[in-house]
Symmetry: C2
Subunit: 453 residues, 2 copies
């Protein structure tokens, strides 16, 4: 049992608290989307919350933690869904949200402090003629380092892939638990060991990401009598290189009634497509809608909606906000994350829709991986029990659909590949020899006998 | 035989000439890349050259031509390679190069007069924060309407596809040979009937094309010991969504010695990749170069090179300028245009490289079609005779490689599909019932019995 009082004293001058209610709050994320994780993670709690104001304070925290042998779990906006920032073994939760400065834009690359919220960075960049390539549906609360360390997919994926696509992360500065703790600057490929490792490979203090030149975006809502027509339209849009877009999500007719502010525009029983389109593409977009028999039922300026506290940009119905919109009114559901094959994508979608029609409310998002276009799905699932959930996942996999299981808290378990890349494990061993960064999350480090690297 | 003197008199006040030397010059394009076309088209000549200053003058020309039953062949920058603007049956050559005004940019869509040069439009747009998506290697002389009517592929294709990709042409205004001649405004899909029809379906007077927000570009030259490594690198770059790029061309080691201004940088016997990369992507680009064993031997600011009359932007070694660079010093070559399959792209490249090693100097360009990435090739071919050229083309096709034959002057013959879309033929019948627009170029109109529409 660590001596928290001594640790606290050693960190005097750094914002901190050991208040029980605060520690409970600061030890959670959105893992409760998963009844499986809820059972496993409820009650997990840090012993001390610290919120360093700068890199020097981060290093002080790490020196003290190393000296005391206390785990350090990094926390950003805590918008993750797999317990990424839930400390399994107590210790310190290191909150990055006091380090929020955008530092600058050089040659289209934004450098920012770890805890900057993505909405703030995007609006700051936009004032300077640039915009983010990618953001999560939780853009209003997610931090940039949290997106790198625990997310990485979302809006913009239809054009730019994920944060793991080479070139979408230019570099990071990371604080280590070496002897002594140090700051490392990692560029390009060298930054891969901190990409989606849930803070197990260091405390990211700065992030460098490439931007794209800013332009206006138009939120478009299109309805279809059938889901299959909606999906065919969305995938055709994804392949339409002449139409610049940032998003195309497809929703089973049972989902739009949960979309407050948009539900009234969608006729009952209709499937819905939500898209973000550059204004220059609207002529072609309307041609494509007409060709596929869709009806445009709502549209708005995305950025204006984003800046208006009373409005909802359509991306807040998309990606994992879809599940949240339902959970707000019905706690009897959960969700899945899956990736459809590149070939015969729609056949695979229809196969699992038919197989699990009553309990799977399909929701797909068009996305690129490795330069190729397909759909991912974050369907809403009527919860029965874990055995049934596993049966549904097996049913998806039987159709050639990859599952990135959101009901496990290890990096490996949640990965489509069931492992971490070798360079991440090697890097972890180098920068965290004592295994104090978010212990229990990188399974192949915690159980070296299963190391496949 | 038309009464040219009467026609000329009817067009008094419009810039015109019947000077023989001028008519010879204004009846040609770059068809002489092809010895086959050279034999067929040399000596073809218009009877009257007219250069209308505005749409009203265009309509006056068309009224007079219709009345006299005289053919009208539209000419822009005359940078085409298939005799697109060579009048087969005399008549009027209608030169658009006096109509050059950029009209405006609305919601990212540029409207311009037909004869505006692409370089001028791009620099004009860039001053306003936008840039062209696509341009030919002849950007300095090609006109926007000529690119729509007779080109449509080139730099930018690695990101945006071709001008035939839905969304890359927002609309046109076109003058017809109906009774009476009229101006039609066509938006989106409705503009497809004038897309790459060589002026057989009307005189484009205005073009509306979508732009993208401007950014800086970096010309990068990378050498490799082997062509196959260069090709593998270029295709990996094409699939790297995290790296924004506008071009990636691959050149057999026999080609760079013809690239004045760049040849000295390329070690003898080395294959070359030329790319245009956004500055934000350079970190990842260098990682990719290193991974593939390449060496960066030259780089420059693309736009600065474009504005410097003594410099050569790298795109002027690419696309069909590659062939031109060789022809400047060796008239014993010609070229091909082909598209490699989406799957096993590099295998097909290597197969024809091996099969025709001595007489085919391979040159590929990465490009997207229908949302998928592959390579096209514009290899330089050592000329023997037409029979050997046909044998080479057959050898390419036997490997699953599509040929867009640049040695024929009809739309259908030069298309990968060997036909025009039905809507183009129907539109032609409507707007040119007398068949006076560039007769002989749309074979399925001129020989209706072969109409497959």
């Amino acid at each position: 049992m660590p001596d928290i009082a001594a640790l606290s004293a050693a960190l005097a001058g750094i914002e901190q608290s050991d208040d029980a209610a605060l520690l409970r709050q600061k030890s959670r994320d959105f893992y409760w989307y998963s009844p499986v994780l809820k059972a496993q993670l409820d009650g997990k709690r840090a012993d001390l919350w610290v919120r360093p104001a700068n890199e020097a304070e981060v290093l002080r925290v790490l020196v003290a933690a190393r000296s005391a042998g206390v785990p350090v779990t990094v926390r950003g906006g805590a918008t993750g869904n797999y317990g990424q920032c839930v400390p399994l073994n107590g210790g310190i939760v290191l909150d990055t949200t006091a380090m929020t400065a955008p530092i600058g834009i050089t040659d289209g690359v934004l450098e920012a402090e770890a805890g900057a919220r993505m909405i703030d960075l995007d609006l700051w960049a936009r004032d300077r003629g640039w915009e983010l390539r990618l953001w999560p549906s939780t853009k209003r609360t997610a931090t940039i380092a949290g997106f790198v360390a625990g997310g990485g997919a979302g809006v913009g994926g239809i054009a730019h892939g994920t944060m793991r696509e080479r070139g979408n992360l230019n570099g990071v500065r990371v604080a280590t638990l070496q002897d002594p703790p140090a700051l490392l600057d990692l560029d390009g490929d060298a930054a891969a060991p901190v990409n989606r490792t849930y803070g197990t490979t260091g405390v990211i203090t700065r992030v460098r990401i490439p931007l794209v030149p800013a332009q206006a975006w138009r939120d478009m809502a299109v309805t279809f009598a059938d889901f299959s027509d909606a999906a065919r339209f969305a995938l055709a849009l994804a392949f339409a290189d002449g139409i610049q877009k940032k998003m195309a999500g497809v929703f089973d007719a049972r989902l739009p009634p949960f979309f407050r502010g948009l539900a009234d525009a969608v006729p009952e029983g209709n499937a819905l497509v939500l898209a973000m389109i550059a204004p220059s593409g609207l002529v072609a977009f309307r041609d494509l809608v007409r060709e596929h028999g869709g009806t445009i039922v709502a549209d708005q300026d995305t950025v204006a909606a984003e800046r208006d506290p009373d409005a909802t940009p359509f991306y807040e119905y998309c990606w994992n906000h879809t599940t949240l919109q339902v959970l707000k009114r019905d706690r009897g559901v959960t969700y899945l994350q899956c990736r459809f094959p590149f070939e015969d994508t729609l056949r695979a979608v229809e196969a699992v829709r038919a197989k699990f029609h009553d309990e799977v409310w399909m929701h797909t998002e068009c996305v690129r991986f490795g330069g190729r276009t397909t759909m991912t799905a974050l369907p809403v699932i009527r919860w029965t029990d874990e055995a049934r959930l596993n049966a549904i996942m097996a049913g998806f996999e039987a159709e050639g659909i990859g599952i990135a299981n959101p009901h496990v808290f290890t990096i490996e378990g949640g990965s489509g590949y069931r492992r971490v890349p070798g360079d991440q494990l090697g890097f972890k061993r180098r920068v965290d020899p004592l295994g104090l960064f978010n212990p229990g999350k990188m399974a192949s480090f915690d159980a070296p006998e299963t190391d496949a690297a």
